[in-house]
């Protein structure tokens, strides 16, 4: 494969995946509004298009057409760059996520992953940790008490829970012996659902810790203190309007999708079928290529469904409860999980 071919293929993959990701974000918002509506015994958006399916497009148009307000007292350079950092970090992570079978493209190229990186998992963690700057700088540069409090809460929360999140993944990495996401998926995919890390690998404790930490990392209910509207009006994005607010909004849902992708890859067997090899590979090459994507999307969808369900059910934590839970319960539990997994692996 020449370098030009490689460049063009990469460009195509990046373009397609970015568009799919943006559409995914738009429809995750709709999914949340519909589901929370049903949980609260109302219909949710159902006026625009059949079943309200065109609602995200209209919302996007509204954000674009609204007046772009910039308050006078803000520190402008950081105020403008903060939403870009937040959305950028939310969209970059997908680059190392493999969502289909390897080597399906011409010349044995990976068609269903932008880049196959040895340290894929660390790359995702790194991008997540840089994403904090979006929120922190937004809150500080807005020059508003509510924003600053929201940003401080959010930085403290993200740093605290990042530790538990990182430690919960160590068990999975120990089992796979690699930080490459493909290797992690292939290690747990030998016999379908039985060998998934969450069941066969006895990593359900790690999955629980990851789930909790992920809710906190994405500022989602019940850990949505950085934007608790009853206390802080809007938290870090109080002073943002129109498209700049929409960028924070999209970043939040993009992060939800990323977290869902990581959970799928690490605990739920990635793109592989839960049936394992019970059913042989389909004859049709097109079906063979699309089945893994179907399984991957289904798993991520289930994760997002759980996210919305939790949001519709649980009340918000108090701040000291949040910190206690993170440091006193999740952290020791994650360390115990690492010790347990290592002992088990050594004993085997």
């Amino acid at each position: 494969m020449t370098i030009l071919e490689f460049f063009l293929w990469s460009l195509l993959k990046v373009a397609v995946i970015t568009v799919v990701m943006l559409l995914g974000i738009a429809y995750t918002v709709l999914l949340e509004r519909k589901l929370v509506g049903r949980i609260q015994n109302r219909w949710g958006p159902n006026r625009v298009g059949p079943f309200g399916l065109l609602q995200p497009l209209v919302d996007g148009a509204k954000s674009f057409l609204k007046e772009d307000l910039i308050p006078t007292a803000v520190y402008k350079p950081l105020y403008l760059i903060a939403p870009i950092i937040a959305l950028g970090c939310a969209l970059i992570s997908i680059a190392v996520v493999p969502f289909g079978a390897p080597k399906m493209g011409p010349h044995g190229m990976d068609l269903f992953e932008i880049a196959d990186v040895n340290i894929g998992l660390l790359v995702i963690l790194g991008i997540t940790s840089v994403g904090v700057y979006g929120i922190a700088l937004a809150g500080w540069s807005s020059n508003n008490k509510y924003s600053l409090l929201g940003a401080l809460r959010s930085s403290a929360q993200l740093i605290s829970y990042e530790l538990a999140l990182g430690l919960s993944l160590v068990g999975v990495v120990l089992r796979a012996g690699s930080l490459n996401l493909r290797a992690i998926v292939e290690q747990q995919a030998t016999r379908g659902i039985v060998t998934w890390n969450i069941f066969g690998g006895f990593q359900f404790v790690a999955f629980f810790i990851y789930l909790m930490a992920a809710y906190a990392e994405t500022n989602r209910s019940p850990f949505d203190l950085p934007e608790a509207e009853s206390e802080l009006t809007g938290g870090y994005h109080t002073e943002y309007s129109s498209m700049k607010f929409a960028m924070f909004f999209m970043a939040e849902y993009g992060n939800m999708i990323n977290v869902g992708c990581v959970a799928t890859l690490l605990f739920l067997g990635g793109w592989t079928s839960p049936l394992g090899n019970l059913i042989g590979p389909p004859q049709n090459i097109l079906v063979q290529a699309l089945m893994p994507i179907f399984w991957f999307v289904t798993k991520v969808f289930c994760f997002l469904f759980l996210y919305v369900w939790v949001r519709g059910t649980l009340p918000r934590f108090r701040y000291d409860q949040l910190m206690n839970f993170g440091w006193r319960y999740l952290m020791p539990l994650a360390i115990l999980n690492i010790v347990g997994t290592s002992l088990w692996l050594a004993y085997r």
Binding site: N118, G126, V130, Y133, A136, W140, L152, S155, L158, I159
Partner: protein, 176 residues
């Protein structure tokens, strides 16, 4: 390709470092430091140290620099006064810096047995790195971690000591 990337990110790194010194607002300096750390991570990657690059971003750009900005935000530090410094400091300082840089540069150029690192496609895998770290260099590694543990315990002890002097602060902060 490697050389182009090296020059690009070395440039970013130096520009960030110079900007760090020139900016008068603490938060701009902190963010320049983030740029420096991240460019360094890319340079590590170009030398084939992928784990080190990822750790650099997660630990330095992600965690430590967030704490820096956190402190700047919490104290709401304002613009620093720009002083021109004393004339003597300028007369002695700049030549002194040049001399020190010159001495260091000649030492590094003439030193032998430092090993070589080259820009190439070769990559030291995480497995190789941990093998060296946990087999051959286990003792220094553990000693370093104990050193850090002592530092943490010291910080906690100091903070507790402060609490003991003002017993009312405990009552004020506890949300009961």
């Amino acid at each position: 390709m490697h050389l182009i990337l090296f020059l690009l990110f070395a440039g970013f790194c130096l520009a960030g470092a110079i900007n760090l010194l020139l900016q008068s607002h603490p938060i701009n300096s902190a963010l320049s430091l983030v740029v420096v750390m991240t460019s360094l991570a890319v340079l590590y990657l170009l030398l084939g140290a992928e784990f080190l690059a990822a750790a650099q971003i997660i630990v330095y750009s992600g965690a430590i620099m967030v704490l820096f900005t956190f402190v700047v935000m919490l104290l709401n530090a304002g613009r620093e006064e720009r002083t021109l410094g004393s004339r003597a400091a300028r007369a002695v300082g700049f030549p002194a810096v040049v001399v020190i840089l010159g001495v260091l540069a000649t030492l590094i150029v003439h030193a032998h047995g430092l090993g070589v690192a080259s820009l190439s496609d070769a990559i030291t895998s995480t497995e190789d790195l941990s093998r060296v770290l946990f087999r051959e260099l286990l003792l220094p590694f553990e000693v370093t971690s104990i050193l850090i543990l002592i530092a943490i315990l010291g910080a906690v002890a100091l903070a507790r000591h402060g609490d003991g002097e003002t017993p009312t602060s405990e009552e004020r902060t506890s949300p009961k």
